[in-house]
C-alpha cells in the first residue's frame, strides 16, 4: 500500500483530534453547569488520546515521536479541517461544532474499524466506544436545546449556519482518495459525508433547527492541504510555549 496515502490519512485524523481536543479543553472550569464541565473535559482528554494513538501509528511508519509531531510543526504543516481550529465562541458554537464533528468522526471510526489496514482497524475498534459517547452527548444536547426556548434555538441556529461551511470542509478529499478507497482502507470522504448528512438530519428533525440548503453553501476547503485561518498558529504557539523554553528538556 502507498505509505504516503496512509500517512496523509493518519495526519488528518490525528490533527483534527489534537486541535479540537485543545479547543474543548479550554472549557475545563468554565462550563454552564458543573456536571457538563466534567463531561466536556473527559471528551477533550479522549480526543487528545485519540490523536496520540494515530501519531503513534505514524511514528511506526517512520515519522517523528508523537510529541515532536504534535508540538513542533507550524500551521501550514497541519492537516486538520478549519472547523476544529475556530475559537470556542460561546457554548452554542462549541456544542454545534461538537455535534457536526463527532457525527462525522464516529462514521470514520466505524469504517476504519473494518479497514483493510490492520493497525488502523485495531485502533479504531478500540476507541470507537469513546466516540460513541461523544456522539450520544452531542445528540442528546442538540435534541434537548434545539427544541427548547427561543433564545436557545436562535443561538444554535446561528452557530449552525456559521459552522456548516467549515464542517463541509471536513470532507475535503485528499490527493490519495482513490488509492485509499481501492486499497480498502476506508470508503472515502463522499461516503462519510453522505452518511453524516443522513445522521445529522435525523437528529435535527427532532428539533426546531433547520439545516441550511447545502447546495447554497460554499465549503471552506484547504485545511487538509495546510491552508488555515489566522486562529491556528496562535493556538499552536500557545500549545508549545512551555515546551519551547527548552525543547531538549524532559518535561
Amino acid at each position: 500500500m502507498n505509505e504516503l496515502a496512509l500517512k496523509d490519512l493518519l495526519y488528518k485524523l490525528a490533527d483534527d483530534q489534537l486541535i479540537l481536543g485543545h479547543r474543548n479543553s479550554e472549557w475545563t472550569g468554565f462550563g454552564p453547569i458543573l456536571e457538563e464541565d466534567i463531561a466536556f473535559s473527559s471528551m477533550a482528554q479522549d480526543k487528545l488520546g485519540h490523536s496520540l494513538a494515530f501519531y503513534t501509528l505514524l511514528h511506526e511508519l517512520g515519522e517523528a515521536e508523537p510529541d515532536t509531531v504534535a508540538f513542533t510543526r507550524n500551521a501550514e504543516q497541519f492537516h486538520n479541517s478549519q472547523l476544529v481550529e475556530l475559537p470556542n465562541g460561546e457554548y452554542d458554537f462549541s456544542l454545534i461544532r461538537h455535534f457536526l464533528y463527532d457525527n462525522a468522526e464516529i462514521i470514520r471510526f466505524e469504517m476504519l474499524s473494518q479497514s483493510g489496514y490492520e493497525p488502523i482497524a485495531k485502533v479504531a475498534t478500540k476507541l470507537k466506544g469513546e466516540v460513541k459517547y461523544h456522539v450520544l452527548h452531542a445528540n442528546t444536547w442538540i435534541k434537548n436545546l434545539g427544541a427548547s426556548t427561543e433564545e436557545a434555538i436562535l443561538r444554535l441556529q446561528a452557530s449552525l449556519n456559521e459552522a456548516l461551511p467549515y464542517a463541509l470542509g471536513m470532507f475535503e478529499k485528499s490527493k490519495y482518495e482513490q488509492e485509499l478507497i481501492e486499497a480498502g482502507v476506508y470508503a472515502g470522504e463522499e461516503a462519510v459525508k453522505a452518511e453524516w448528512l443522513n445522521r445529522i438530519q435525523t437528529v435535527l428533525a427532532k428539533t426546531e433547527l433547520k439545516l441550511p440548503a447545502l447546495e447554497s453553501i460554499e465549503p471552506v476547503l484547504g485545511g487538509r492541504y495546510g491552508v488555515h485561518t489566522e486562529h491556528l498558529q496562535p493556538l499552536l504557539s500557545e500549545m508549545s510555549e512551555v515546551f519551547d523554553i527548552d525543547p531538549t528538556a524532559e518535561w
Partner: protein
Amino acid sequence: MYGGGNVFEATKFDDLQAEDPVKLAEFEARIARGEKIEPNDWMPQLYRKQLIRMIEQHAHSEIIGALPEGTWITRAPGFRRKMAQMAKVQDEVGHAQLLYSAAETLGKSREQMLTDLINGKSKYSNVFNYPALTWADSNVISWLIDAGAIVNQMANARGSYGPYCRALDRICAEEAFHLKYGHDAVVHLATGTPKQREMVQAALNRWWPPIMTFFGPSDKMSTHTETLMRWKVKMASNDECRQQFLDMYVPKIWELGLTVPDPNLKKNAETGQWEFTEPDWDEFKRVINGDGPCNAERLAVRRTAEERGTWVRHALLNPKAKYVKPLA
C-alpha cells in the same frame, strides 16, 4: 484539594441547652459508637451549621482551586502532561460537584452556595488567591497543595457525617493521582536542565509562604472546639495537620536539592516538632478578606461561567420539576 484554614467560630447555635436532651444523648452515643450520621437523622443545629459551612467552603475551594492550574492547561508540555493536567483540573471540578451534593443533603441548595461564593459571602481556601506564574508553579501546586489537602481530607474522612465521608473516600482516591502527578512533574524539573531547576526553585519560593498558611492559624481551644471534636466534625487541629505535612514533605523537597525559603525551618530533635518562621497572618487575613493578587479574577471567572451558562440552564428548566435534596 482544600486547605483547612476553616475557622470554627462560635455561633449562636452554640447553645446546646436549646436542644432536646434525649435526642442529643442518642446522637452523641451514636457517634461515640463509631456510627456515621446520615442525612435524615436528628442532629443538633450546631452540627448542621458547622458541617454546611465546612463542606461548602471545601466545595468552593475545589471549584476555585481548578483555576490556578487551569492557567496551564493549554500550555502543558507534551501529551502526557497535557492529558494529566486536564484530568487533574477536571477532578477538582468533580470534587466540587461531590461536595456541593454532600452539603445539599444538610439543607443548603447548590444555587444558594454558588450565589454566596460569587457574591463573596462564603470563603474558599486562601492559597488559590495567588497566581500560578509559570508551569513550575502549577506543578508545585499539584504536588504540595494537594499533599496538604490530602492530610486534611484523610483526617476529615474519619469524621461522623456519612455523605461527607462518602465524598471524601472518592476524593482521596483521586487525590493520590494528583499528588503523584505533581511530584513526578516537580522531580522532572528538579533533576532536569539548569533552567528547569531554576524555574521550580522560584516557584517553590513563591508558594512556600501560602503553603505554610494553608492549614490556618493555630486553633484556639474552647468548649466549642471540644464539642466539634467530640462530634467528629473537627478531626485534627490545624497545627497537627501542618506538622504532619512538614514531616512528610520537607524531606522529599530536600532530597531533590531544593531549598525551602525559610532559614528557621528545622525539626527539633527533642520535641519532634518542626520549628519555622511564623507565617504572616496579617497578610493571610487581608487576602482572605478579598485583597489578594487574584481574588477578583477568580470570582469574575466563576461568575462569568455561571452567567454565560444561564441560557443553557434556563432552556432546559422543567416547569414541573420539584427540588428534592439528594438522598445521600
